[in-house]
Symmetry: C2
Subunit: 420 residues, 2 copies
């Protein structure tokens, strides 16, 4: 497949590659290369010509809660723990009903597609059937992702609490059922967070992650009350991250930790050492009054970072909007640190939204040779602008004020993906 257009991508953090009026050749699902001109062997072959449109890598969402999509915008005058109690848990309990789950998850898949998220790492609920259904719907839609059946066997409401044994048995069944079923959608081991998982459960989940060779996701150091609670539960651990580490859920398999708003240097160091990914969720961190994650320092200490919408702590599905929130939050952090922690600029945020999170999946999030071709074709219908703009300026306009309507085509792993 040969596609023509204006390509923009970030091969490394802070570096932007802009290829005006160029070609990309895709073999199967992989990028063979980008070219200013087509060489002789390719002339005469059909070319999909997107004219003056922008073509950028698809967005990667490293952290979101699929069952909470229905709750976007609700209950945000609360902080994390009361918000979980009052809004989130009751919403998740409904996913026991598979028909309800299917109806909501169908809509979730449409929303992800609509906003240009081509790969997503999602929390489901404790319910293995509903969560398996979400994998099926994502796969059927042609999107990529990791989806986890949530585990929680302590400090949880009656409607969502599991016995340790049942939690592990259901997880193993879920993993067996899904681990090899789809090409682009895979299961991920998902202890909700330390307060809701007993030591036995965490140890059991680590065992399953290793046995089935699947990655792990959870939450880390989001809110100060949560951190205090974790310290009370695990007095011997150095920090919150160390709890996961003691139970081998902190990089022993590829691991994503969401938030890390209050991670100190030691916790960040442990993430760096263990190759743990951080899912940065700035919209959610503002909505739930969690704070601003020290994302510049986390990156400087060598941790891999991607962006997370964290629906429904975050209200925005759009990773472009999460990029804007990333840049805005980092500017306030820059002021807060007397301009010592440089803010994240738009090129850097674009990296985090594509290759930064994409690298968790493998060769995803760039147009370099050997990468899977995930792409969005952008036509700025709705931008009011009578002026000639550079391609980079047009990218900025799309990120800041573009809409789903401006995404005119989506590709995942070399295939065009239409409305699910």
């Amino acid at each position: 497949m040969i596609i023509k257009g204006n390509f923009i991508f970030t091969p490394s953090f802070g570096q932007l590659t802009v290829l005006e009026n160029s070609y990309i050749i895709i073999e199967g699902q992989w990028v063979k290369g980008t070219y200013a001109e087509l060489s002789e062997e390719f002339t005469g072959l059909p070319v999909i010509d997107y004219g003056d449109d922008l073509i950028i890598p698809g967005f990667v969402d490293l952290h979101s809660h699929a069952p909470q999509f229905v709750n976007r915008g609700l209950g945000l005058d609360l902080e994390l723990l009361p918000w979980l109690e009052k809004y989130t848990f009751s919403a998740e309990a409904k996913f026991k009903d598979l028909a309800y789950a299917e109806a909501v998850y169908k809509a979730v898949v449409v929303e992800l597609w609509r906003w240009g998220t081509t790969r997503a790492v999602l929390f489901g609920t404790i319910h293995k059937e509903a969560t398996a259904k979400l994998l099926e719907l994502l796969a059927r839609a042609g999107l990529g992702g990791y989806v986890g059946k949530v585990n929680m066997d302590r400090n949880s409401p009656l409607a969502l609490i599991e016995t340790t044994k049942q939690s592990l048995a259901d997880t193993e069944e879920f993993l067996q059922d899904t681990v090899s079923r789809y090409a682009l959608v895979k299961p991920i081991v998902t202890p909700r967070f330390v307060p809701s998982c007993t030591p036995e459960l965490m140890a059991g989940l680590a065992y399953l992650a290793k046995k089935y060779q699947v990655p792990v996701q959870s939450h880390l150091s989001e809110n100060t009350a949560e951190i205090t609670w974790v310290r009370e539960l695990h007095r011997k651990c150095q920090n919150y991250g160390d709890v996961y580490n003691q139970f081998e859920l902190f990089g022993q398999q590829p691991t994503i930790m969401a938030h890390c708003v209050h991670s100190d240097a030691a916790e960040i160091e442990l993430m760096a050492k263990n190759n743990v990914y951080v899912a940065h969720c700035p919209s959610s961190n503002a909505n739930l009054s969690s704070g601003i994650a020290p994302i510049r320092r986390i990156i400087q200490q060598g941790v891999s970072v991607g962006l997370g919408s964290d629906v429904a702590g975050g209200h925005q599905v759009s990773i472009a909007q999460v990029m804007v929130a990333t840049v805005q939050a980092s500017k306030l952090k820059w002021l807060e640190t007397q301009k010592t922690d440089d803010f994240i600029n738009m090129r850097e945020a674009f990296y985090l939204a594509t290759k930064g999170g994409g690298s968790f999946f493998g060769k995803i999030g760039s147009f370099e040779a050997g990468y899977e071709f995930d792409a969005l074709v952008i036509h700025n219908h709705h931008v009011v602008d009578r002026n000639q703009r550079s391609l980079e300026e047009r990218l900025h306009q799309f990120i800041y004020i573009g809409e789903d309507r401006d995404i005119v085509a989506r590709y995942v792993a070399g295939k065009k993906v239409d409305h699910p």
Copy 2:
């Protein structure tokens, strides 16, 4: 005119009135009253029935720069003063060309309409013809507003600097031309900000504001470098606000000051004493790394506050999105002040976005008897939600994740306003 639906509005800061399945009677442009049932004298009259839709007051934008709409999302890795130099001034210089101005301003009016802004207080440029055209286009579209020809006679680029004499002469001509021309759109005296206005110009503008009985708008204490500059220019003044006050541009006529990010207690006190309005612009204040305005303290000290999109320091035209930014920024301020400055909750932000800013115009922004009927009819097409929600929850969903497509009708001063 009789309209039926679910009405939501805020008669006072923090107080929400929800009238399910009710009626509003409008006489001319004014609300006569809201009713659970229609009394006998009105039965049999035609009713516009919006069924289960929400009906809320139209949004009021207290601060935006119409010529900068084309620049939304551009140059936001800079702070205020270099951003003005590099992006803003060159964009504004183009408005010398009336045909260009008309093309852009037509699009601006559509954008305001689209996002449900029924009243807007706008900066134009120094060009009196282009600015008069903007008033004409707003009036023709049926929207309400104040629009200012900008004044700047020092520290400005060659393409935008005026002589003091010309600046005052053009302003007077502009005022004479527009002060009585339209019912809902009026001129406003608009010194850009202290650094770009000589003492002679400020004194002359105060004279004109008084002579023509028109209000005043400008910028105040947005950025620390700007404040230092103002202090150097006016060493005898107590603070930035005191400069305007010395020249009688600080409440001697109704006055709006945008930003006030770094206003101290004395400056806030002077605003309260002089009945100066603050236009709170949280999106812009984050984008340009200005900081978070102490909006809770400003309100507590008795200052009237409304919201401003501040395009193009702000990238969002939508005042709903500015409400979200207001709540988010205030939560970070709450954390920064060790939870002493309470955050702004959604009910309070809704007040600021409607009656708070609307009161600058008169009886605007509420459905109480005697108010002009400005309204938006909201049908949540795009909200994924399979659950029964309260009307207040549906309002939250619209504010956080609603779109222009969800606004199915707009009214200004009792008249339905269609796509311009």
